[in-house]
């Protein structure tokens, strides 16, 4: 770490470093399949967290799905929800419960891979029954946040303390125009970040119109057709001049340094109010079928919490890892620990001793992911 990077890190969260990061309980439940009574299981989990009504009644709830990579890419031809995407049954059950809890509006969002087209079509391409999901609760909406979408301007959200990589991020309006921000993540390894859970799911809130490889030099490209490799992963280029620029262009260009920090920034800039991690059926070894060595697994577990760091810490432990592990230790072999960076920004604690687990204990559902 260079002196500038150290100063940036220290300067970013002096208050957070001075006191312990907050904690919140995490609920764990077994779910053998997506065809079981997910509604009953989730109701019990949310009740263990204080009930959905407390969080959602009369509110607009925005749910970030995990639909990473093109829906055309399947692992062994399997349905996407059984491998690396959020499962549609789970999304439907969550929408139903939120509606029952009195949510005023439920908006499903994702920055859909390499397209600015309607999210509904992306979901159809992913094999989702959009009509059924739209009918799961009153006022269900969908928005592709990969560009301006239905908004008139981008929302500029700033990580408290100034940010680790960028001072602020320009995002689709949906991330600002909401009362509650929920993340519906998948329990997976990640090639760059070791694990991809609730925190890492926020990487996908950034629009490729601004942070994509084909973003404009001056202005966003409202027809994005590429990923975010050059700007976020490798820092090979800057986002359009219309967006906030990098704090320290001389900092490391390594993806294992940059992406965890950007994710931590995003989790601080757009706090996650409710996290649900889908570990019923998933993959180990990476985040999608473009990663070699992927393997299908069925941990049969769900985790939920109101703090993304505590939820991720428990999920990381369920995967058989130490959530506070440092770089060089699995699963963070070639990257910094996103959870620790978010903890450093005061988002939540990674200390399992300080996290109350409700429902099943970690030891009872532990499913080693290897690496």
């Amino acid at each position: 770490m260079t002196r500038r990077e150290l100063l940036a890190l220290l300067g970013s969260a002096p208050v957070a470093l001075a006191k312990e990061a907050p904690t919140a309980p995490v609920a764990i439940a077994r779910a053998a399949s997506y065809n079981g009574d997910l509604t009953a299981i989730l109701t019990r989990m949310f009740d263990q967290l204080g009930g959905l009504g407390r969080i959602a009644r009369g509110k607009t709830v925005t749910i970030k799905l995990n639909l990473t990579g093109s829906p055309a890419l399947r692992f062994q031809g399997r349905p996407l929800g059984s491998t690396h995407y959020t499962h549609p049954q789970l999304a439907g059950a969550v929408a139903h419960l939120l509606g029952r809890a009195g949510a005023r509006r439920i908006r499903f969002v994702e920055s859909c891979w390499a397209t600015g087209g309607p999210m509904e079509e992306y979901l159809l391409d992913s094999g989702w029954n959009v009509r059924a999901l739209a009918g799961a609760a009153p006022n269900v909406e969908f928005e592709n946040t990969n560009n301006l979408g239905k908004g008139k301007r981008y929302s500029r959200l700033k990580p408290p303390g100034g940010g680790l990589v960028y001072p602020a991020y320009d995002l689709n309006h949906a991330y600002e125009d909401t009362d509650v921000f929920m993340t519906l993540a998948k329990l997976k390894n990640h090639e760059t970040c070791g694990v991809t859970l609730a925190l890492k799911n926020s990487f996908g809130i950034t629009p490729a119109s601004i942070y994509g490889d084909d973003a404009g030099e001056d202005q966003p490209n409202e027809k994005p057709a590429k990923g975010r490799g050059n700007i976020f992963h490798f820092g090979k280029r800057s986002p359009p001049r219309s967006a906030p620029q990098e704090l320290d262009p001389a900092s490391s260009r390594e993806a294992g340094y940059r992406v965890p920090r950007i994710v931590a920034d995003l989790a601080a800039a757009r706090p996650i109010d409710l996290a649900l991690i889908d570990g019923i059926e998933t993959v180990t070894g990476g985040e999608g079928p473009w990663i070699e060595g992927l393997r299908l697994v069925e941990p049969g577990v769900l985790m939920a919490g109101t703090n993304p760091v505590t939820t991720d810490a428990v999920a990381t432990a369920v995967m058989g890892y130490d959530p506070a592990a440092s770089r060089g230790t699995p699963p963070f072999r070639r990257c910094d620990n996103t959870l620790k960076l978010a903890e450093g920004l005061g988002v939540g604690t990674t200390d399992l001793k300080r996290i109350e687990v409700r429902g099943l204990p970690i030891a009872q559902v532990r499913f080693p992911f290897g690496l």
């Binding site: 093109s70 890419l73 399947r74 349905p79 159809l124 391409d125 094999g127 009509r131 590429k226 473009w290």
Partner: protein, 455 residues
């Protein structure tokens, strides 16, 4: 033409062909559970007894003749053995073809040509238009067994459907594609089912050909081979029981004006690019280009506008005046004819096609030219219809090893009834619902192939 020969030629339209690797009449019993009624026999299996017993079962026998050796002598041997005709497979000298044709006509027998694609005579009035050259259909697998996979797109599917789409648009004759399975490969039965459907979704027929191992096990009546053979029979029967689908033509609001000399006979060209994105397209050959042929279209793409006559250009302008869109390929843009045994694009040609494709794709966007399909990345489709679109049939073929669930189709226009047909499954009535483009319909599952028929 002699009456018997005339009858044989007219019966050709109903022939369901297969290469048959045995001259033992007992093997004819294997045909009982299939609609196969035309066998292509190698010279070593030309047999009067086999031909006699086949005829007794209503099965036609054709002798396969190749250019090597003495083709005329081989043809005479087939005819003397009482076979119903001969199939010329390969690149023959014209004189050799004519002498064999004369011999066949003299014996009042049929002659079918299966030349390489570059020698196809699409407008010659042949009883069957066919070729032995084809890709083995399936998801493209690169070296080391990896499926070409990137975060940016789905798997590429090797298919003959683009080529067949073009051929079917030019001719009403029965179309055969007689490619062989890959050598030294034991194939799961699904790969055969895909080969059948890859051709049949365009109204063509794949000449069934089994790999050596399958043949051996089938002739030995091994239970597993018989089970697979029954499935092949069921899939062949599925298409043969619906001759009305074969009469339908590609249905789309988008036309691609193309000729053999701009890549229409190659695999991987523009028709396959459009097919890969499930964009229905109506191929139009230059000679057929007229105001009538373009009536009702929303868009026409010409890949060699410079070669058009004044009348043809006027037909395109007329489409533009009526609100249609025209898109021309780059001036002088051409692709070669297939070379020798090569029917796929070379690297340099791929780059050319990709460049033209980017232009077309950018204009087409998410437009609906008859149907838009969702969740179909491992599939190809073919939208066929009656003129005016009062009835359309959407064939779907799945090339992956797993069934595809939850497919959605958005059709241009209003339809009132949808039925889903699939091999080995009862017909299903499907619910229709309105979508901005017209009509939406959801399909639960496709195993290998299915056909959505809408009225």
């Amino acid at each position: 033409m002699h009456l018997a020969l005339l009858l044989a030629v007219s019966a050709l339209a109903g022939w369901a062909p297969a290469r048959w690797a045995s001259g033992d009449p007992k093997t004819l019993e294997l045909l009982a559970e299939t609609p196969i009624n035309c066998l292509l026999l190698e010279r070593s299996n030309f047999s009067a007894e086999f031909a006699r017993q086949a005829a007794g079962r209503g099965v036609t026998t054709l002798g396969v003749i190749r250019p090597e050796g003495e083709p005329l002598a081989a043809a005479r041997q087939a005819l003397q053995a009482g076979l119903d005709g001969v199939v010329l497979e390969g690149a023959f000298e014209r004189a050799a073809i004519e002498s064999i044709r004369e011999a066949a006509a003299g014996a009042k027998r049929v002659l079918v040509e299966l030349p390489p694609r570059r020698l196809l005579q699409l407008e010659g009035g042949a009883a069957v238009i066919g070729t032995y050259q084809g890709l083995w259909p399936g998801i493209h697998v690169e070296e080391a067994g990896a499926v070409r996979a990137r975060p940016t797109g789905g798997p590429w599917i090797d298919t003959n459907s683009g080529f067949l789409r073009f051929v079917r648009a030019l001719t009403d004759a029965p179309v055969w594609i007689a490619n062989l399975p890959p050598t030294k490969t034991v194939l799961p039965v699904d790969r055969y089912l895909q080969a059948i459907a890859d051709a049949a979704m365009l109204g063509a027929r794949w000449v069934v050909a089994l790999d050596e191992d399958f043949n051996r096990r089938l002739v030995a009546r091994e239970p597993a081979a018989l089970k697979d053979w029954r499935r092949i029979g069921a899939h062949l029967r599925y298409f043969e029981e619906h001759p009305e689908w074969r009469r339908l033509k590609p249905y789309s609001l988008l036309a691609l004006v193309q000729e053999p000399d701009v890549g229409a006979l190659l695999c991987g060209g523009l028709l396959d690019m459009l097919g890969g994105r499930h964009i229905p397209v109506r191929p139009v050959s230059r000679p057929a280009l007229s105001e009538g042929a373009l009536k009702g279209l929303r868009m026409a793409v010409t890949v060699e506008a410079g070669a058009l006559s004044a009348e043809q250009k006027e037909a395109l302008r007329s489409l533009a005046r009526s609100g249609g869109m025209l898109l021309n390929g780059p001036p002088g843009w051409k692709l070669p004819l297939p070379k020798g045994d090569q029917i796929t694009l070379e690297k340099a040609d791929l780059a050319k096609v990709d460049e033209v494709w980017q232009g077309i794709n950018g204009v087409i966007g998410r437009g609906n030219f008859g149907a838009r399909l969702f969740n179909v990345s491992s599939m190809l489709s073919s939208l066929l219809g009656e003129a005016g679109g009062s009835m359309v049939a959407l064939h779907l073929v799945n090339y992956s090893n797993y069934p595809v669930d939850s497919i959605t189709v958005h059709l241009q226009g209003k339809y009132t009834r949808a039925r889903l047909y699939a091999p080995e499954r009862p017909v299903q009535e499907l619910e229709l619902y309105p979508v901005p483009e017209g009509t939406g319909v959801d399909i639960d599952r496709v195993v290998v192939c299915a056909t959505l028929v809408l009225n």
